[in-house]
Symmetry: C2
Subunit: 242 residues, 2 copies
Amino acid sequence: MAKIYVVGIGPGSYENMTQRAQQALAECDVIVGYTVYIDLVKEHFPGKQMLTTPMRREVERCRLAFEEARKGQTVAMICSGDAGIYGMTGVMEELKAEYPGVVLETVPGISAVISGAAILGAPLMHDFAVISLSDLLTPWEKIEKRLDCAAAADFVICLYNPSSHKRKDYLKRACEIVLRHAAPETVCGIARNIGREGEGITVLTLSELKETEVDMFSTVFIGNSQTKNIGGRMVTPRGYTI
Amino acid sequence: MAKIYVVGIGPGSYENMTQRAQQALAECDVIVGYTVYIDLVKEHFPGKQMLTTPMRREVERCRLAFEEARKGQTVAMICSGDAGIYGMTGVMEELKAEYPGVVLETVPGISAVISGAAILGAPLMHDFAVISLSDLLTPWEKIEKRLDCAAAADFVICLYNPSSHKRKDYLKRACEIVLRHAAPETVCGIARNIGREGEGITVLTLSELKETEVDMFSTVFIGNSQTKNIGGRMVTPRGYTI
């Protein structure tokens, strides 16, 4: 039976992969992925066949995986973080009907909302919203509405894709929307290069975040009204009496 | 240096832990946790000292971990899923100042929002909100407001703690709030006993979900306006042209 594992490899380092993900990569015949992610895993699987497609060729990459599986190969399709959060499982599930006999299995991974929170402290002890600021596939008005509603409901907010060359001011715009409901002193955090060289965090206020430029390797957290800065750590109390 | 690893053990099975989590448990002197989670890991670490406290003794459990660390033990404090999502990292970060010299490191794990999505299909290809229906530590009015705002903004919604003995009708009430904004045909999913014996999924409509009772080992997903049921799988399109 032709099989494709859709594998989340986590933030980057091999030890942050689950055992199940490591096994899927070890057992498969061919690993398919975006060039940057292949570079992260290839040293651990010397001699394994690797197929890559560049950025913006996501659907093509998914079809490549199905074509390999149809040839009888066991395929691992890799995504950074988790394949199920803004990843490739969606296209894979949509294409599946075109390739009868191919079985899909998603192997979960550590997404940036989780790995970023782990290095910042404990921002996600309460209800939270995850929003991508990329408007490549989503109208900006929809993103804006989600930011507005999430802030109005006092969610902790985690922002994926907070910046790119073409969207330098999007984080500032996002902060301005959140500031309609949240105090300028709201505690925020930036997690950079999670699990990779150059890993680092900054804990700052929402008004400071508004004036901060981040790069595309950053994940941004905006606290709720209860979030505290405890010694440089971002902590949202769950509500226990300490 | 006294050290505590706060470790997310994932959905249950050993292979769904990251290598880093497995290493932390292997290297520590003592594992601290809620009885049920200790039972999930103890067979893999025979002879290791294990300390447990029952449910509702969370702060006590955290202090136990700090007391052990203060004795010079390396401690692993375990949580199911990820320790950073409604887990113990918050209390640990809040208590840390009382125990100078103890170093905390959070080791991320696969939370139910990720492991549940993986078995349901691809519900989280777009912005999503995670909301706990437990009102033990949160006023119901705040939960209601978050449900209302998340639905108004067309977020995919993931519900933790959708049911308990005392809160049998909370899921129904949550669905009624979402139905103010979402169509009765909105595609929803239930993931049960993720990564454990009895694992299973149901994909159904929001109006069907409203009439369904789930148990406390379930995680519930409510799709956005674009989410589809593709052959019994819950799939939210990211927006790529297929």
